[in-house]
């Protein structure tokens, strides 16, 4: 593979892992969400993310050309081979933590995919164009909940503030780029993550203002997911997610 091909495969893996890990976290709410309506809503959000992961893995597998398919990429790599951001793998916490994380991610991915949809790389652009519509709804869904929880009862407000504080140290990694991604950004193939920051700030600020909440205090930032340095939470999550596929390799429906 050439240098560019390597970098595009790495991008597919990174974006795919982000989507899959967050999608699996959302699926863990199935049957335990606060209401039946929200149970279905969280499953919908999760399925959107898992659908995006599949597309990125399929494209990545084709580019890599080593005979791996989407299932191999999802189910037969260990935690150290995953390239997702730490934010995605954090445990769900309570509903407020889940909504805080989801707004942080969706407020980034919506403008990021919008920019990626203009990429000269047709495969990436097509996935992004489909995914951006999904993320528009995700921003709205998480945003509306945060507004109501922040501007709700004393207890919901306390939990919403705690939820935002819990995820805040992991939001900086959304904007971090390694050398390969920087070279792709310089070539105009993927968006420069720094250019997404103003819109991300604006979305977060708008939602928090409506929720009558302050922006969280700047916190020391954690990173390392893109290099495979994960929190202790990823491996157990993957063990659970991958157990069926590993117990029955090559099984079909």
């Amino acid at each position: 593979m050439g240098q560019d091909t390597d970098a595009i495969f790495a991008t597919c893996l990174a974006l795919g892992d982000d989507a899959l890990v967050l999608g699996h976290r959302l699926s863990q709410w199935s049957s335990t969400a606060p209401t039946l309506e929200e149970d279905i809503a969280l499953s919908n959000l999760g399925l959107d993310m898992i659908g995006q992961a599949r597309l990125f893995y399929q494209l990545g597998a084709t580019i890599e050309g080593k005979g791996r398919d989407e299932d191999k990429l999802a189910y037969f790599r260990d935690a150290s081979a995953f390239r997702n951001l730490l934010l995605m793998e954090l445990p769900n916490g309570d509903f407020a933590v889940t909504m805080a994380r989801h707004l942080a991610v969706a407020a980034f991915l919506e403008p990021y995919y919008r920019a990626l949809a203009a990429s000269p790389h047709q495969g990436l652009a097509e996935i992004a164009a489909k995914a951006v519509r999904e993320m528009t709804y995700h921003v709205r869904h998480a945003g509306e909940w945060i507004i109501r929880l922040g501007d709700g009862t004393q207890e919901s407000r306390r939990r919403m503030i705690a939820g935002l504080d819990a995820i805040w140290p992991y939001t900086g990694e959304l904007f971090a780029m390694d050398e390969a991604e920087r070279s792709l950004a310089a070539a105009g193939i993927v968006p420069d993550r720094a250019t997404i920051r103003p819109q991300w700030n604006e979305t977060i600020a708008r939602v928090l203002a409506e929720a009558t909440l302050d922006m969280p205090e700047p916190a020391a930032q954690r990173a390392g997911g893109r290099q495979g340095h994960h929190t202790e939470h990823l491996a157990p999550m993957l063990a659970d997610m991958q157990s069926l596929a590993r117990a029955h390799p090559e099984a079909t429906w």
Binding site: E37, N44, Y137, H141, E144, L149, D151
Partner: protein, 95 residues
């Protein structure tokens, strides 16, 4: 958001432009905006829906089941209100 029982909303979905909205169920939500989102998530997962209405269930006035006979029985004897009551002459063909 008040700390009270979550209100119930009736959901009406239009599946294609030109067809009327149809009642398809209900959702719990604290306000109209959240009711719309819940309706979207619960009732439009498989469809080509183009529009959603939500209405507070409390806004609906329903007939009393006990009035069933008084309200609906009298029409049972008025079979001439059904088109099938009338014989169509052969010359008319298909209508």
């Amino acid at each position: 958001m008040p700390d009270t029982p979550t209100p119930l909303w009736e959901v009406f979905i239009r599946n294609r432009t030109g067809l009327p909205h149809r009642h398809c169920g209900s959702v719990h939500a604290h306000d109209a905006e959240m009711a719309l989102q819940a309706a979207r998530d619960v009732y439009t997962r498989r469809g080509e829906s183009v529009s959603i209405w939500v209405v507070p269930s409390s806004a609906i006035t329903a007939s009393d089941p006990g009035d069933k006979e008084a309200l609906f029985e009298p029409t049972a004897s008025k079979i001439y209100r059904h088109p099938t009551f009338y014989e169509i002459p052969d010359e008319v063909g298909h209508m």
